[in-house]
Symmetry: C3
Subunit: 247 residues, 3 copies
């Protein structure tokens, strides 16, 4: 595993840190593979009760690294899709801390986390439509389930930014903290506190909270990915990617 | 088509305007037929990407024109039901701008719009129970899906008014604007901006957002309409209508 | 029926009052049996249109009386489970007024009420996990449906308190009133006002609002209760109960 994804065990918490701050934590194919490995490790380890997902630097994640993304074949076996499927099927609680930009999959991965804390500088968006693309990562249904259909529609059909206040008021995040240090302190402390409960009761609770819907979410992620893959071949998407990469 | 429903194409946006301001835009059987025709035109036209629904004058719609409603046979083929079914099955995005009173179907039609902007003077209600009637237009399920079950229950079981602040906080509307001119400017501009995306990506996105539930919503509208039709024959409803029309 | 559950008919409203204020209205097996009888009376009486559920004293309910709970065999036939099933299957509207502490089933019973008013001193929690237990009373799904998944996850996985402002903002309650006297006045007045509608239209409306989901909720309550019963036998739960009772 490269150092672009850092993994550290702290007691019964596995901290997974996206660590490519010089690129706003844009995610490459190799990083998705690392994330899959990290989450699978957390899921399988008898020592780990809770995952704490964060990133380093001023931004959570700018989303897909577009240049890398275009060099990688996209299908249901792709690491990006496998990452979403792995995260969606975790039976252990995942606490996420999000700061700065959280774009595209930087937001949609949060839909599969159980508790999401944010800092006041957070700026989230799902701008797939600006690239001629359709919703992915379960966002076409899970964003409405979390925040109501009107906000989900607006965010996905316009791609506009969502700031801290709106994110908190709509339930897109649990709570907003004044600055990023407080965010990381509080999210880390919550993960530690939760991890004191037994793995049995944490998993049994999460299965009740999420269990029945997991197979639907898996199907949804695959369905969205299939349509997303078709859209990637459209002239509209190709022109949008060109414009973005050559800006 | 009469001038009670105005239809105007502006670029790739079809603006549909309820235009009976001297009657608070109360809706007649003939107007529902006009609305069906207008939405079907938008759906079928290759030139149209987005619908912008608004009304003229100080109120969005007082709901059914009760005198006209009582003169028209009510069943699943009625224009009012066909209007709701047509709107619920639109595959192109619908942006609505709502100001002043939005009563009964004046609110329930908004449950089938994708983005709803409101002005600060908005006053919404679903007072079916005050007429001895039951929820219609999908409101028995869609209001709770959008705003939570407790608010939906209260609004439908008491028929009380919902003002701008509550509408915004509960997600019944996307955003509230200070006055009606700003509302119309902003809603129109959003529709124009959205319409710059291709029809393909807009429709594919909306199908993901709404597609799977559409057949359930169609069944729900029909089920509610059947019960609503039975309630219309009740002594309670007849007495309530009499009291209303002779007030 | 003991005086630990008071039942009083006021016009077409049946007021059911939890009345064990010296024990913070902690609920015993006998009280659950009384509550089942009271709700069944309301459901069956042709004179009753609406139920008004409240409690006496400074707290709504501290939840299960743990000492009593441990002396009672727990299974799907237990009075506590039968109470939840009875409440979930009511076809007449239930208005609840909640003040002070509402813990465990003191909160989960509210998920089956149609309208919930609260006072500013309300302090709700679902601290099952602190006792090594899993969500009950439908809370694993209904809390997320009412308030969004992130808040539901956090409340159930940490057991922390929910104060009035958060309860109102997340839709866990309809409205917060400044003090308990205003709460009881307003909730009682609302129940009376609602009860002026006919039983037919109230029941038909509630069936549309809740009907389709009731069988799912019944299955969910049973599933949760089965897992809850297994957790009660765990060493973790036994140790937590011991610590609580000997504190």
């Amino acid at each position: 595993m490269s150092d672009l994804v850092l993994v550290e065990q702290q007691g019964a918490v596995l901290e997974i840190q996206i660590n490519r701050p010089d690129k706003m934590n844009a995610l490459t194919d190799a990083m998705y593979a690392d994330l899959v490995a990290a989450f699978k490790k957390a899921e399988q380890s008898k020592e780990i009760n809770v995952v704490y997902l964060r990133s380093s630097g001023p931004h959570f994640s700018a989303g897909n690294d577009l240049a890398d993304f275009l060099e990688t074949e996209f299908n249901l076996e792709s690491n990006v899709v496998q990452f979403l499927l792995t995260l969606a099927q975790m039976t252990k609680p995942v606490v996420a801390a999000v700061n700065g930009a959280a774009v595209g999959i930087g937001l949609t991965m949060l839909l599969h986390c159980d508790i999401v804390f944010a800092s006041a500088d957070v700026k989230l968006s799902v701008p797939f439509i600006k690239l001629g693309l359709t919703p992915e990562g379960g966002s076409s249904q899970l964003l409405a389930a979390r925040c109501g259909d009107l906000k989900a529609n607006e965010w996905l059909l316009t791609g506009r930014n969502i700031l801290a206040n709106e994110a908190e008021n709509t339930g897109l995040v649990n709570q907003v903290f004044e600055n990023v240090d407080t965010l990381w302190d509080e999210a880390g402390a919550l993960a530690q506190k939760m991890s004191k409960s037994s793995q049995d009761v944490l998993v049994a609770s999460k299965l009740l909270l999420k269990g029945e819907q997991v197979s639907d979410v898996v199907q949804l992620i695959k369905k969205e990915a299939t349509i997303f893959g078709q859209r990637l071949q459209s002239q509209e998407a190709k022109a949008a990617f060109d414009a973005f990469l050559n800006r």
